[in-house]
């Protein structure tokens, strides 16, 4: 009887270990921001890029949709997404807020002079403090939110053609 129980226990333990490895090895360990979609953003307090005021929640409710784009002049991939942002500028239901991340003011101004300014509002995040509040971990990153400040989608890396189409479709549906 005792030997039978030990055998059964050993079998259960081995089966458990195999299943744990099977499940965890098949699971992607890459960081994924999907869990953040559907969450409401709060505590927004962005310093305006050139004016002596802050951009707060009220400013993000001005339009049906707002795209918050974190960028910097030193960021290479930001140049790739810029044409798409410029195209999105013509969307009436979309407000684009640019957040200049850990950048020199003069470099940022030159960047926008060279490539064009797609932003309705421009903020600065000199030390990156506010980026944490938006769950940013590298730039470029963009967050599409609706009027209720709910995150509809988070774009990690430069906005691609696919992302551009996605944003256009979301706006169209409304």
């Amino acid at each position: 009887m005792g030997i039978k129980i030990i055998k059964l226990l050993t079998f259960v333990i081995v089966l458990f270990i195999i299943s744990v490895f099977f499940i965890s090895l098949n699971k992607s360990s890459f960081y994924n921001t999907k869990v953040l979609e559907g969450q409401k953003i709060s505590g927004i307090n962005l310093n305006h890029f050139s004016e002596d005021r802050t951009i707060i929640e009220k400013d993000l409710k001005k339009n049906n949709f707002t795209l918050i784009n974190f960028w910097a002049s030193w960021c290479g991939p930001c140049r790739l997404e810029h044409p798409f942002l410029l195209k999105l500028k013509s969307e009436k239901k979309l407000n684009i807020i640019g957040v200049n991340f850990k950048d020199k003011k003069s470099n940022a101004i030159n960047f926008l002079k060279e490539l064009g300014n797609p932003y309705n509002e421009l903020a600065k995040d000199e030390f990156g403090r506010q980026s944490i509040n938006f769950g940013i971990y590298g730039i470029p990153e963009s967050i599409l939110i609706n009027k209720d400040l709910v995150i509809l989608k988070k774009f990690i890396g430069p906005i691609s053609k696919k992302d551009y189409n996605f944003i256009k479709n979301v706006i169209k549906k409304k």
């Binding site: 960081y31 030390f127 990156g128 403090r129 509040n133 971990y137 590298g138």
Partner: protein, 121 residues
């Protein structure tokens, strides 16, 4: 007079212990936060842009008087559970937390029964 001196030193030590606790607390938090852009490194081990920013924000929050738990809750809310090395207890990870205790209990029972059986024999 002696009593006053003793009280003075006790108070002095309490303050130094408090300061040490706060310092340890900060480093403990850094060690438990995953650097999301690094390979298997905590924020304490990394000097990346992301790690620097996270450290800055954690320092700010400690100065604001937030507790370790409140800081973890804030970061989990912003980045998901993946950011903490020690995930909070939830229905998806209850086995992770309870299994060591269960194994300990079962082991105890097995030893107890084996010893009792040997005694009977």
């Amino acid at each position: 007079m002696k009593l006053k001196i003793i009280i003075f030193f006790i108070l002095l030590n309490i303050n130094s212990i408090k300061a040490e606790n706060l310092k340890a607390n900060k480093n403990e938090i850094f060690k438990n936060i995953r650097c999301l852009i690094c390979q298997g490194q905590s924020v304490a081990d990394s000097n990346s842009e992301f790690a620097q920013t996270i450290k800055l924000v954690i320092n700010d929050q400690i100065n604001e008087g937030k507790s370790e738990k409140e800081i973890y809750i804030f970061l989990v809310e912003k980045y998901g559970e993946w950011i903490v090395y020690k995930p909070p207890f939830s229905k998806t990870n209850f086995l992770l937390w309870t299994l060591p205790y269960l194994v300990f209990l079962i082991g105890g029972f097995v030893i107890f029964f084996i010893v009792r059986k040997n005694k009977e024999n």
